[in-house]
Symmetry: C2
Subunit: 200 residues, 2 copies
Amino acid sequence: MSPSAETRPPSEARARLLGTATKIFYSEGIHSVGIDRITAEAQVTRATLYRHFSGKEDLILAYLDQADRGIRAQVAAAVSGTPSAAGQVRAVARSIVDGIRSPGFRGCAFLNAVAEYPDPEHPVHRAVLAHRQWFLDTVTGLLARVGEGRAPVDAAGRHLVMLRDGAMAAGCLFDPELISETFLHGVEGVLRDVSEKSSA
Amino acid sequence: MSPSAETRPPSEARARLLGTATKIFYSEGIHSVGIDRITAEAQVTRATLYRHFSGKEDLILAYLDQADRGIRAQVAAAVSGTPSAAGQVRAVARSIVDGIRSPGFRGCAFLNAVAEYPDPEHPVHRAVLAHRQWFLDTVTGLLARVGEGRAPVDAAGRHLVMLRDGAMAAGCLFDPELISETFLHGVEGVLRDVSEKSSA
DNA sequence: AGCGAGGTAGAACGTTCGGTCTTGTCGTGC
DNA sequence: GCACGACAAGACCGAACGTTCTACCTCGCT
């Protein structure tokens, strides 16, 4: 799973490198920033970068891996901090709008990355697909516990992910406040659907 | 408005150039393809490209402008071919899923482009915002005629655009058929919302 | 004391980038 | 008949790309 399995163990320089890469890749894109930008900003020489990562692609994968871990932790925190199933879905939704509303928000790191790597065979593209599959499964699992029963929970999960994708994509192109409001409203609709359908 | 206002009039070579740029930019991204790829595939020399466009950026803007015209025509056709307001919304939605289901679908050209140009001041970014504003206004206008009255049609328009964005983003990452189904279902929900609220 | 891992510093590799320029050749309109 | 616009072909530019290299330093360990 770990994309940098064959590279060096953690170190101060490596952490600085990955942190800088995360910041720059997320805010400016991937193809448009070069190795030099990252090494300069991380105050590290090129040799150091290539000691910890096998190349730029490896650094990109490490960036996405870190983003993936962050989101998983964020979802886990939202879920563990709430007892009811519907409350868990709302907590996840709230964590999403928190991101959209935060200052440096530049959309979904994975959707942005996949826009630059359309080739389905490319490791970066694959990493995005894997993350998205996990998210869909997780959300669908939460919804299944809201509408306990044989409600069409798969469709509801896809609906919720579609709303999330739209909100994340538009969150840095429109007023984040309006996007958040629209998204939360949509989430309530999905919750209503799942509850109604399962009680029918 | 026209991004290539100061460049040459149409010609066979120019059309070939723009067509090739459209195909390649859309399917492979923008930053990752160079001038040489486009000129080679269009069977045109660099000199010819720079005779018709002031540079790569101008070509990108022409590409987006062409995509914008295409979508406007597509929406206009959907609207003009349907009498009822709700039918027009459904026709637009259908034209969207037609795109998602078509073979070479690679997501929204504008969302993909803006992922590569995060700087809000950049002309490419601005072109994307302009297109999106037009689309939101258009969709909101259609919804206003569905719920004739003072229904919260702005929120419904944002909701519909959010669904579209999510569908376009995921359409090339998941099963297009399921995405289309989910999207059309969501559109019906928006239509129901607008109709109910206005009749209340 | 000595060794190696991890780091800095910086030159250099070959390639590709976007962009300019020159030269020659068609075809059309004046 | 000839000048001009459109295009082909390709050399050329400076810069940036990702990558590799040598050389030196400085810790922590044994």
